[in-house]
C-alpha cells in the first residue's frame, strides 16, 4: 500500500519510558528463575451509526499487564490506573507476593530471543523494513502498516458524513428497485456504520522494547426487510479510512438481496454440492483445523489433532491446505491486510506464516509461549488476549485455505445441481470430536453450471448451517479458485473469534472459492 507508516503515539512515550523500569523492579535478581514482561495496550475507538436512531461514540481504553512466568505458571496483574506512583507500588507489591510464594523454584527461567538471534527468513518486508540498524534490548522499535489517511487524524465528522451518505444512497437505490418490482416491499431500514479502532501495543522484556500501532477500520451496512430478513456488506481491515469503502456489488447486496430474501424459498434439508465463497471458506478453515490446531487445546488434551499429527494421519485430500498468517499485510488484489494481522503477538513473538495443514497432513500447532513450552513444539505468534482485562490464550490470526487453479466461473460451470454460499453466519467446531458447522446467510442456486438467480434460506426460514465431520469435509474438496496475489495470498475477510463462546479477538479468515463434493445443509 502507498502511504505513510504511523509514528508511535507521543502521548504514550512517558509510560513507555517507565516500562523498562517496572521490568527491573519486577525481575532484577530473579532472571535465572523468572521470566517477566510488561504489556501496554491502548484502544482508541470512534464509531458512528446512521439509522432510524443515529449514534456516535468515542472511547479511549488503556491498560497495563505485568506478567511473570515461574515454574510453568503465569501470574499477572492488570490495571488501568496508570500513574507512575501507583504502577511502581503495584509492581513492588507483586514482586514481594511472588517472592513469598516462590522462595524456591524448580526450573530455570525461559530465555527470550534477542534481536540478534531472531530468524529473519519468514518475517517479510513489512517487518524487516521497520527494524532499522543495530537493534539492542534498549532500542525502541515501532511497527505500523502504511496508511493513506493517518488514523489519528480521523474525525467523527468524516465518519458521520460517510455513513449518512451511504445510507441515503442505498435507501434511494432500494426504493428504485421496489418501484420497478411489484413483488418487493420497501425495506424497514438501512443501517450504516463506520468504526475505527486504533490499537497500540508496547511490549518490553529483557531483550526487546517494541511497539505496534494497528488501525482497524470497518464499514458495515445492513438492509432489513419488514419481515426481518437482512443482507449486509462489510469493507475494511488493517488500514486507514481509505479502505472503508463499499463497492457497487456491496450496494446491490444490501439493497436488492435483502428485498429478494423476503421472498426467498426455504431449503429442503439434505446433502448438496456447494461452492463456498472466501467468507464461508474462511469460516470452514477457522473451524476445521484452526481451533483444533491451537496449542492450548493440544496442551489440555482437548484436541484430536495432536494424535493425528503424531501418527501422520491424512485428514484431507491433496487440496486441503490451511495457513496461519499473522504478518499478512496484503491479500488478493488488496494492498492491506485483514483485521487479524499484526507484527508481533501479545507476548512479543514476531509474526511468521505457518502451514498448519499441508495437503491433508497436520503440522505442529499454533502456539503461545506456555503451550509451546509445555508441548515442546516451536513457538508461533499466536498468543493473544481480548484485552488487558482478559487472560492470554493461543488464538488464530488470519486462517485461510490456499488457492487453487480454477476461475470462479469454471467452478460454477462444474456444478450440475447445487448452491453458492457467499456470506458467512457464524460457525463452531468440536476439536475433540472433529466436527464443524459453518453458517451461511443464504444459498444461491446453481443449475447446469449456471446461477439461476434463486436464493434459498434455511429450512425454518433462517440462515443455513453447513455441517459435516471435518475429515469427511476436507476429503471432498473438488477444486479451488486461483489467486491474483503475487504471494498467492487469497482474500481474508474482516472477522472475529470467540474461542468457543467468549474472549472475542479480531481474526481474519478466508481463502479461495472452493467447490465441495457435498455438504450437509440445513
Amino acid at each position: 500500500m502507498s502511504g505513510k507508516r504511523i509514528e508511535f503515539p507521543k502521548h504514550l512515550q512517558k509510560i513507555r519510558t517507565l516500562m523498562p523500569k517496572l521490568l527491573n523492579i519486577l525481575e532484577i535478581g530473579h532472571e535465572e528463575e523468572w521470566y517477566s514482561f510488561i504489556w501496554l495496550e491502548e484502544l482508541k475507538a470512534i464509531n458512528c451509526v446512521a439509522a432510524v436512531n443515529q449514534s456516535s461514540s468515542e472511547s479511549m481504553d488503556r491498560g497495563l499487564v505485568l506478567r511473570v512466568l515461574i515454574d510453568g505458571q503465569n501470574f499477572e496483574r492488570a490495571t488501568n490506573i496508570l500513574s507512575e506512583e501507583s504502577l511502581i507500588t503495584l509492581t513492588r507489591d507483586f514482586r514481594s507476593e511472588l517472592e513469598m510464594k516462590f522462595s524456591k523454584t524448580t526450573s530455570k527461567s525461559y530465555r527470550p530471543c534477542s534481536w540478534k538471534d531472531e530468524d529473519r527468513s519468514l518475517l517479510g518486508d513489512d517487518i524487516l523494513d521497520q527494524i532499522v540498524g543495530d537493534t539492542t534490548s534498549k532500542t525502541e522499535v515501532h511497527f505500523s502498516p502504511k496508511c493513506q489517511h493517518n488514523p489519528f487524524d480521523s474525525k467523527i465528522e468524516k465518519l458521520s458524513e460517510q455513513c449518512n451518505s451511504t445510507r441515503k444512497e442505498f435507501l434511494k437505490s432500494s426504493k428504485e428497485i421496489v418501484e420497478a418490482h411489484s413483488e418487493y416491499k420497501e425495506l424497514a431500514d438501512i443501517k450504516s456504520m463506520i468504526r475505527q479502532n486504533i490499537v497500540t501495543h508496547v511490549f518490553v522484556d529483557r531483550e526487546k522494547n517494541m511497539s505496534q500501532t494497528l488501525p482497524i477500520t470497518l464499514a458495515y451496512t445492513m438492509g432489513m426487510t419488514q419481515t426481518g430478513q437482512t443482507a449486509r456488506c462489510i469493507s475494511g481491515g488493517l488500514g486507514g479510512l481509505e479502505i472503508a469503502k463499499h463497492s457497487t456489488e456491496d450496494k446491490l447486496e444490501v439493497t436488492k438481496r435483502s428485498l429478494q430474501l423476503a421472498n426467498a424459498k426455504k431449503l429442503i434439508p439434505g446433502r448438496y454440492q456447494v461452492i463456498s465463497g472466501p467468507d464461508v471458506t474462511g469460516v470452514i478453515a477457522h473451524e476445521a483445523f484452526g481451533h483444533t490446531q491451537e496449542g492450548d487445546t493440544w496442551m489440555k488434551g482437548r484436541s484430536i489433532a495432536k494424535g493425528l499429527h503424531e501418527a501422520k494421519t491424512k485428514v484431507g485430500n491433496e487440496q486441503a491446505s490451511i495457513v496461519n498468517h499473522p504478518n499478512m499485510f496484503s491479500m488478493e488484489d488488496f494492498a492491506y491486510g485483514s483485521n487479524g494481522s499484526y507484527f508481533f503477538d501479545h507476548e512479543g513473538q514476531l509474526g511468521r506464516p505457518q502451514q498448519i495443514l499441508d495437503k491433508g497432513i497436520l503440522s505442529t500447532p499454533m502456539t503461545d509461549l506456555t503451550s509451546s513450552m509445555r508441548l515442546n513444539v516451536p513457538r508461533t505468534a499466536n498468543g493473544k488476549r481480548e484485552s488487558w482485562r482478559r487472560p492470554l490464550m493461543t488464538r488464530q490470526t488470519n486462517t485461510y485455505f490456499t488457492p487453487g487453479d480454477k476461475t470462479v466461473e469454471e467452478l460454477i460451470s462444474m456444478v450440475k445441481d447445487g448452491y453458492l454460499a457467499r456470506w458467512a453466519s457464524g460457525g463452531m467446531e468440536d476439536p475433540k470430536g472433529g466436527s464443524l458447522t459453518a453458517g451461511t446467510a443464504y444459498l444461491e442456486e446453481i443449475k447446469e453450471g449456471k446461477l439461476t438467480g434463486e436464493v434459498y434460506l434455511g429450512p425454518s426460514g433462517g440462515h443455513v448451517e453447513l455441517s459435516d465431520p471435518v475429515f469427511t469435509l476436507l476429503d471432498r474438496i473438488i477444486a479451488k479458485s486461483k489467486s491474483t496475489n503475487a504471494n498467492d495470498i487469497p482474500e481474508n475477510k474482516f472477522g472475529g473469534c470467540g474461542k468457543y463462546h467468549k474472549e472475542g479477538v479480531p481474526a481474519g479468515c478466508g481463502g479461495p472459492y472452493i467447490l465441495w463434493e457435498s455438504i450437509n445443509c440445513g
Partner: protein, 472 residues
C-alpha cells in the same frame, strides 16, 4: 484506588468526580441551551481469573493466575440543535490523565453530529429505587477469599471423581460497582457479582473422541454450587456411549434445557420492546399472539413475567439505563402479549405511556417431570448441548448442529446422538410444547457474544412442532 478498598466503595465519593462534574457544568454553561444534559458513569471492576489443567490423576494445576483492576469513567452528552429541532447524544470514555474540559467539549461536538427525533429526559423518578440484591455478599466481602475457596472446592470435587479425565477448567470471579449521575438530578449505585466456571471432561479410557464442555454462570456462590455442577458434568461424561447421526426429518420432537429455553424466550421478549416498533423492526404489541399459527390442542401455554427484583439474578437492578425505577409485570399470558416494554424515550416517540418494565424472565412451570415429558412421546431427542445455538433476533428462527444428544424411543434411551443440523421457528415451536415441573435458574452476564439473560422457570421443554433436522 487500590484492590483492597472494595468493601467500602462509595463511588459518589470518587476523587475525580467533583472535577468531572465541574467540568461538565462548565462546558454546559459555555454552550447554553444547546448543551441539553449530561450523564456520567463510574465503574470499578475487579476480577480474579484462574486457568487450570489437570494431570492424569485429576490433580489441578493452575497455569494462569490473574488479578484485574479496572477503574473507569464514561460520560454521555445530550444536545438540542438544528431547526427543526433535533437531539444529539454521544458517549466518551474519559481519560483521567488528560484535560477533562477538552474531552467533554469534544463529546459535545460529536453529539451535534447526531440528529435524532427530540425527546425530553425524565426529571422525576417514577418511584423510589427498590433495594435489590444484585451481588453475593460473600464475594463483596472478600473477593480473594471467595475465589480461593471456590478453587479449593473445585480441587476437592475433582479429586473424588472416578472414571473420567478432567482436561481443563477456568474460574473467573468478578465484582463490579457502578455509579451514575445525571444533570437532571438522578443518581444511583449498584454492585454486581458474577462467577464463570468452565469444565472440559471426558470418559476414560483414553483416547476417545467425545468430550463434555460445560459452563456454569451464576451471580452467587450458592447458586453456582460448583461441587454439584462438577458431579453432574462428570455423570454426563460417564453416560456417553457410541453416537449416531440423527435421521433427516421435518417433524422431530426435541427436549431442550433451561439454558436453551432462556435463550429462545430472551429473543422472543425482545420483540416486546417498543423500540423495535419505532425502528420498524418486527415487533409484537399488546394483544398480539406470540404464535404464528393456532395452538395445538394439549400444548402448554407461555405465561411469562419480567421481574427486576429477583435476588442475585443477572437482570435484577434498582434502576434502568434512563435512571428510572424498573417495574415487574406479566408480559405474556396464555400466549398473548399483555404488555410491551416501553421506556421513556420510546414512549415519547410513539405517544405511549412509559411502563419501565424489564427484568429476569419468570416462566410458569408445567405439570410433568422430565421423565414424563420423555415418556409422553413415541420418540424424541434430548439436546444435551448445541454446538452453537444461533437465534435470529428479527425472524425468531434458529439453528445449530447437535453437539451431543440422547435419543429416546418409548421412554427408553436407545443411543447418543451427535451431528446433524437442527432448526426451528420459535413462533411455530411454541404452538405445541410442554414444560417440566422442575425449576432452574439461568444467569448470563452480558459480554463477548452474549446478551445478559436471567431466567427462573422450567428445567426442560418438550417441543413437538416445527423442528427440522438434516442428518443421515
Amino acid at each position: 484506588m487500590s484492590q483492597s478498598d472494595q468493601k467500602t466503595l462509595i463511588l459518589s465519593q470518587d476523587k475525580l468526580l467533583p472535577n468531572l462534574r465541574d467540568a461538565l457544568n462548565k462546558i454546559k454553561s459555555k454552550y447554553g441551551q444547546q448543551f441539553y444534559a449530561w450523564k456520567l458513569n463510574v465503574l470499578h471492576y475487579e476480577s480474579r481469573q484462574s486457568l487450570m489443567i489437570c494431570n492424569d490423576k485429576n490433580t489441578l494445576e493452575q497455569y494462569q493466575n490473574r488479578n484485574v483492576l479496572d477503574h473507569s469513567y464514561q460520560i454521555v452528552v445530550y444536545t438540542n440543535h438544528s431547526e427543526p429541532k433535533l437531539m444529539g447524544s454521544s458517549s466518551f470514555n474519559i481519560d483521567p490523565l488528560n484535560n477533562l474540559e477538552d474531552q467533554i467539549d469534544k463529546t459535545y461536538q460529536n453529539s451535534l453530529l447526531v440528529g435524532n427525533k427530540p425527546w425530553k429526559l425524565p426529571t422525576k423518578i417514577n418511584k423510589d429505587y427498590e433495594k435489590v440484591l444484585t451481588c453475593d455478599p460473600i464475594i463483596k466481602d472478600d473477593l480473594n477469599s471467595a475465589h480461593n475457596n471456590m478453587i479449593s472446592e473445585i480441587n476437592e470435587s475433582i479429586s473424588s471423581l472416578d472414571g473420567v479425565k478432567v482436561n481443563s477448567l477456568e474460574l473467573y470471579t468478578n465484582l463490579q460497582t457502578t455509579y451514575f449521575e445525571t444533570s437532571e438530578g438522578f443518581n444511583g449505585q449498584k454492585d454486581n457479582s458474577d462467577i464463570y466456571f468452565e469444565m472440559a471432561i471426558e470418559k476414560l479410557p483414553l483416547p476417545n473422541t467425545q468430550e463434555i464442555l460445560k459452563y456454569k454462570k451464576a451471580i452467587s456462590i450458592e447458586d453456582a454450587n460448583l461441587s454439584s455442577f462438577i458431579k453432574e458434568t462428570s455423570d454426563e461424561a460417564m453416560s456417553i456411549s457410541e453416537t449416531i447421526v440423527p435421521k433427516t426429518s421435518s417433524n422431530l420432537n426435541i427436549i431442550i434445557d433451561g439454558e436453551a429455553i432462556s435463550s429462545l424466550l430472551t429473543k422472543l421478549t425482545g420483540h416486546l420492546n417498543a423500540g423495535r416498533e419505532y425502528e420498524k423492526s418486527p415487533f409484537m404489541k399488546k394483544g398480539d399472539s406470540i404464535l404464528s399459527t393456532d395452538k395445538i390442542s394439549g400444548s402448554d401455554s407461555i405465561n411469562l413475567t419480567l421481574d427486576p427484583t429477583t435476588p442475585v439474578m443477572a437482570l435484577s437492578t434498582p434502576f434502568t439505563s434512563e435512571g428510572m425505577s424498573p417495574v415487574k409485570a406479566n408480559v405474556i399470558k396464555d400466549n398473548i402479549v399483555t404488555n410491551q416494554l416501553i421506556h421513556e424515550r420510546i414512549a415519547q416517540y410513539l405517544s405511549k405511556e412509559p411502563n419501565y418494565i424489564l427484568g429476569n424472565i419468570i416462566l410458569d412451570l408445567g405439570d410433568l417431570s422430565k421423565t414424563e415429558l420423555i415418556d409422553s412421546v413415541e420418540e424424541c431427542i434430548e439436546i444435551l448441548s448445541f454446538s452453537s445455538l444461533l437465534i435470529n433476533p428479527n425472524t425468531l428462527t434458529w439453528s445449530s448442529e447437535i453437539k451431543l444428544g440422547k435419543m429416546f424411543k418409548n421412554g427408553k434411551l436407545v443411543s447418543m446422538v451427535k451431528g446433524g443440523v437442527i432448526s426451528g421457528d420459535i413462533k411455530i415451536n411454541l404452538t405445541n410444547f410442554k414444560l417440566s415441573n422442575q425449576e432452574v435458574k439461568v444467569n448470563e452476564i452480558a459480554g463477548g457474544f452474549d446478551e445478559a439473560k436471567g431466567y427462573v422457570g422450567p428445567s426442560h421443554m418438550l417441543i413437538q412442532s416445527g423442528i427440522k433436522v438434516v442428518g443421515e
